[in-house]
Each structure stands twice: as structure tokens, then as C-alpha cells.
Symmetry: C2
Subunit: 383 residues, 2 copies
């Protein structure tokens, strides 16, 4: 697996059960996955030399992010080591414009979009679809980075963005009820498997909570989302996981983003589904038969733990574990930085409101902790 982040780290847990020897190419021996995986190679997965040297010892290569350049992946494929997903499939998760053009080409529902090579193109799009609109870097963005809402074409930021050497595209601003995600797997053999469709709750462009299954989603619409994701996986020749982030609008579903790897919207499957997304990705990548996606409980709620400004996260385990013996903690062993995803918590059961409260409490407490709570109280008292 190229990339040593938390997705590779959690894949290692699944690899241990299957008896599969996972090898990781990580940027540093201190990376999240490198800390838990023996024989990690330290190197740059965006360097062709490092990637091909690493892949030479592997039976199959996969990725924990979408930033490995396509030509390097093609070089590995040419050396005889299969890459799953392939460079050809992966570019639809690497380039938003390529993705939009391809998906629209076979009729998958997308927001209106257009490439923005210059100001004239932007003005044309605004004339047709109105303001505000969404301006995106076609490559490299994640967690809300590389995405700008444009309310006024004369905003100096617009000129600044147009003046940089970054390929841009425009999309209509979608008025959506909520965001949902459909996670599927597809094996080289062509087998597909779809997980229950989930609701993802975002704050400041970062996913903070996932509810499985999406509350109140009609079975027709859930099936439509699953079919759409399986169809995209098939048409794009995806091997491994495919997460399709969707807007649910008054009129139906629109595709927002694609990811071809284990995805934050699927962390709930570790405890909440019979087969975790990490095991499923391994099975698909190894061309093994896919596992059951059956849910383990009526509801599963996952909340991301974001870094606060207290470095000692471990001491907060005491409160969270004593308060709620049923909460499952996943900590990624990453350096704590404010706002960075450093872990997640999961709870399962029958009472959704209670589960959401429990997940939020645990995630908030692990983020803020007693030190920060004391500080907040002190501030309140002072104010």
C-alpha cells in the first residue's frame, strides 16, 4: 500500500486477520501505518523510483490516498505488478474535471460544471448558472481544501486564483438537503458488493459524523445510490473500494466526489458491518471473493476525533472509557495538530439519538479533554 496514513494503519488490522503480509510505503518511519507495520519502506510515493522499487517486492499495489501520479502507477503496471485501482481508473478520483466529464458521459447525475481556463469561461458559467458558484482546483484538494464558494466575480480572491497555475473548474452551487455516501467494492473478477448507504455530517468541509444507515432514506433512493455506485465502479473499471459522495436534493441524487480506497464514510464498518471496509478492500485488491456487507446493528454512529491543542490524548481515555464502556476508540498514532483527524469513535445500538449523543460526547471529550474544559470554565468564570 502506497501511503502510510490511518487508512493503511487500519488496513493492517484486517491484513493480520487474513494472514496477508501488508507492506507499506510511508513518507516517514513515524507515519501512522509505519508505526504498526513491520518492514515499512520509507520513501516518497510520488517519486517513480521509490514507487517502482517498493512495488517490485509486492504481489499487488494499492493506495491509501489518490495523490500518486498516474504515470508512476503505469510504470509499476508495466513492470508486471498489478495496481488496484489501475492508473486508468484512479485518474477519475484524481482529477475532478476528468471525473465529471466521464460520469456525465454515461449519464450519472452530476451538478452542472465547466472547465475554467480563464476569466471569460468563469463569466460564461456564472451567466448560465448564476451566483454563488463553486470554484474547484481540479486536482489535489481534500477535506474542503481546493474548493471555494464564489459569491462575487470581483472578489480579489477570484483574480488571485485565476492568476495561479492551477487548473480550475466551476460547478453550480447545489442546494442539498444533506450529504450521503455509497460505498461499494469491486474485484478484478467483476464481483461487486454494496454497503448500506450512510449520511455524512460535515462541519467546515470536514466530515465529523457518519450515521449508518442514512436516517429516513427511502429504500428506493438507497438502492438508487447503491446501483449508481456499482455502475460507476463497473464503468470506470475500479478494483478495490469506491466511495461515492452524493448530495441528496429535493429532486434526487447528484454525485459530489469519488474516492477509490477505504474512506472516512466507511470507518463505521469496522464494528458496524460483518466485513470491514479495510478487509473488503484487501479482498477486492487480492481478487478474493467479497465479504458480507450486512450491518451488525440497527444503527451505527461514527464520529471523527479532531486534534485539539492538548497533546496528551491518552489521559482522556480514562474518562471516556469509564463513562461509556461500549464506545469503540480508534486512535491513529498521529501527531496531534488542531483540526487534524487523529482518530474516531464508533457506537452501535437501537436508539439513534442516544448513539449520536454518545459518539459526540466521546469525540468531543477526546478532542478537548479536561485541560481544555477547565480552561473554558475558567474563561467563563472570568467573563
Amino acid at each position: 500500500m502506497a501511503g502510510g496514513g490511518q487508512l493503511a494503519r487500519m488496513t493492517q488490522q484486517a491484513a493480520i486477520a487474513l494472514g496477508v503480509s501488508l507492506r507499506v510505503l510511508a513518507g516517514s518511519a513515524d507515519d501512522s501505518a509505519a508505526r504498526v507495520t513491520p518492514g515499512t519502506s520509507v520513501g516518497d510515493d510520488r517519486s517513480e523510483a521509490d514507487l517502482t522499487a517498493f512495488a517490485a517486492d509486492c504481489d499487488v499495489l494499492t493506495f491509501d490516498h489518490e495523490h500518486v501520479p498516474g504515470p508512476h502507477i503505469e510504470a509499476v503496471e508495466a513492470s508486471g505488478v498489478p495496481c488496484r485501482p489501475s492508473a486508468d481508473a484512479l485518474r477519475h478520483a484524481q482529477d475532478k474535471l476528468v471525473m465529471r466529464e466521464r460520469l456525465s458521459g454515461f449519464g450519472a447525475p452530476c451538478p452542472a460544471f465547466a472547465p475554467v481556463p480563464d476569466r471569460a469561461a468563469l463569466e460564461r458559467f456564472a451567466g448560465e448558472h448564476g451566483l454563488p458558484l463553486v470554484l474547484k482546483a481540479t486536482r489535489g484538494g481534500y477535506d474542503g481544501k481546493g474548493v471555494w464558494v464564489v459569491k462575487d466575480l470581483d472578489d480579489p480572491q477570484v483574480a488571485e486564483l485565476l492568476g495561479q497555475d492551477v487548473p480550475l473548474m466551476a460547478e453550480e452551487m447545489v442546494s442539498f438537503r444533506r450529504e450521503i455516501a455509497a460505498l461499494v467494492a469491486r474485484s478484478p473478477y467483476g464481483q461487486g458488493a454494496a454497503y448500506p448507504v450512510v449520511e455524512t455530517v460535515q462541519e467546515d468541509g470536514i466530515c465529523v459524523e457518519v450515521i449508518a444507515p442514512a436516517p429516513g432514506l427511502s429504500s428506493d433512493r438507497a438502492e438508487q445510490a447503491q446501483r449508481l455506485a456499482l455502475d460507476i465502479a463497473d464503468k470506470l473499471g475500479v478494483t478495490g473500494l469506491l466511495a461515492v459522495e452524493l448530495f441528496e436534493t429535493e429532486d434526487g441524487l447528484l454525485v459530489n466526489e469519488l474516492a477509490m480506497r477505504p474512506h472516512n464514510s466507511g470507518h463505521w464498518t469496522i464494528e458496524g458491518a460483518r466485513t470491514s471496509q479495510f478487509e473488503q478492500h484487501l479482498r477486492a485488491v487480492l481478487d478474493l471473493p467479497l465479504g458480507s456487507t450486512e450491518p451488525a446493528a440497527r444503527w451505527t454512529v461514527m464520529a471523527n476525533v479532531l486534534g485539539g491543542d492538548d497533546l496528551d490524548l491518552y489521559s482522556r481515555y480514562f474518562h471516556v472509557m469509564a463513562h461509556d464502556p461500549g464506545v469503540k476508540i480508534h486512535f491513529y498514532g498521529k501527531h496531534v495538530r488542531p483540526g487534524r483527524k487523529i482518530g474516531h469513535v464508533t457506537v452501535l445500538g437501537d436508539d439513534l439519538a442516544d448513539l449520536r449523543e454518545r459518539a459526540r460526547h466521546a469525540a468531543d471529550y477526546l478532542r478537548w479533554g479536561p485541560a481544555m474544559a477547565d480552561r473554558a470554565t475558567a474563561k467563563e468564570n472570568a467573563g
Copy 2:
């Protein structure tokens, strides 16, 4: 963790989620846990020098087996590194006679027993409790090794055993309905947690199947078994897990064996309980609050995968995974030897008969595989 077997390997999976840096002292870099744990120390955990050198880098020391000599553990304790369980607690899992004497001392129900320093003692015991009786090496046995059923005192094997320099004890032959096991955890803080009581099915002295909860066990008797295990953990000062293997007889429960570590009878908890025994052991050993032992399904069935004479286990994944997408495979990455525990499978659901059939099919197939099945068919056809 001293010892690099499958228990340490599966503990690594739990350590990854908790963000705990598990270090392993393994006999070889090829050991089950060494293959999946970075920074494994290779050494002999029965050597005081190797053990104390390893422990010097640890915050707390625990064990994946009971064969580390007590004085070495005491040396580590004296160096200021806590050992959980302590040498004092662990000797009750190391020496069957010490265990019997201590448990009988506080009224825990045990079979009749006596030390057998010589033939006279054996004759005395046989005179009192009849034949057959059970002769045991007080130390070092597992999976039926070190246990002999004596039907006739004049059996040459008896003279042979008495002539060796192995401390022996005798126990009455218990006529039991079935074997059950109670798994509990106890933290240094004194918190206790009990898992549902399970039935263990043995063949040739090796556990082949575990059913959780034990079918048809009255809630009174289940509670009695849990209380007994918590009471033993408390009286012996166990820190970490304690598995109490019990005989269920017409008259009630009798203690068979103790183990102070994750135990084969608890592998079902990985998927079948909210907190796996491996996470629970880590929590207890680290003096964190214990996790929920709530079951994840009505029934969970675990079947051990024993080595057959075909070394290529992986190729059998295809059949088992395609046949049953819900079966959970755990393979320990150990060299395959006939009869050796090399993995296990787990299934969860509502229909116990169906689950047992599915678990047995998967475990048998992973053991025997198509190659052996073909051979069996060829033999049948030939015969």
C-alpha cells in the same frame, strides 16, 4: 508482551486501535506476532537476561503464555516494571497443584486431587477415589499434553511416568456433561468484567469449537460461573484476563484449569462481543476502565482451524469466502503442521444449528482443502 504466538498477534490488532505501542518478545522473527509487530525483540522469554532486557523498554509487561519462570518475572518486578499478571498470581496458572491447593483453600469447587510424589501416594488416591483416575504433570502441559488417564495402576506407562523427574498429581476422573468456560478481566484498580459463559467442545484434548453463550445453561448457573471466575481473579490478585475452564456435572460446576491471558475460549469476542478479549486484556493490563462485554449477536460460534498436511492454506480462501461471505477468517501466519492450531473462524447470528454447520464447514475446509478432499475421494473410489 512476552511470547510471539497468535495471542500476541491478535493483541496487536487491538493495540493498533487503541494507539498503544505493543512490543513483543518472540523466539524468532518468524513467529506469528513478530510478523505483524514492528520492533519485535527476538529472544528467549524463559531467559532472565533476555526478559529483563526486553522489559526495560516497556511500561508494563504481560504474557501470551504461562511458561515464563516466576523468578524471572519477579526480577522484572524488582526492576520497577509492573508485570500483569504478577509472578504471584501467575503461578496459579503455571502449577496445577498450587492452583488446586489455593482454590480448595477458599472453597472454590474442584475435583478431588492429591500430589503424587511416589507410587504409594498414587495407590492411596486410587484406593480412595477409584479408577480410572487422571494423572497430571503439575507444570508445563497444554492442549491435553501432560495429562494421562490411568485405568490400571500396573500399566507400564504409570511406572514410566513415576520414574521421570516430573512432579505429578492425581485427580478424580470427573464425569461431566460438558465443558464450559468463564472469561473475566480484572484491572489493578480492582474493576472486574465478565463475558457471557461459553461452551467449549474438545476433541482429543484440543478445543475445536466454542459456542457463546453456552446453549441451555441456566442463568443461575451462568451467574454462578461468572461470580466464581471474578472471585478467583480477586482472591488471586489477577490483573488482566482470567479464563476459568469448568466441568459442568450433574451436581454443579468444578474448576478444571486456569489461564491468565487471552484464551482460545474467548476468540469469539473479536466479532461477538462489544470489546474483544484482546482489547480487554490491554485495558486491564494498562489499568484503563474495562470495556463492555455485551454480545453483538444472539449466538456466536468459533471453530479452530487445525493444520492439515497441505501447506497452501491461502488457496482455500476462495472456496470458503465464496461459499459463505459472512464467515470471519483468522489466520495466524504460522507454519502449517498437522494438528496445530493455525487459525480460527467465527460466525454470528440467530440460528445456532446453522451457525455450527457453517463454522465447521469453513474450519474443516480450511484444514482439509480440495487437495485432501480429492485424495479422500480417490481413496474411497479405490476402496
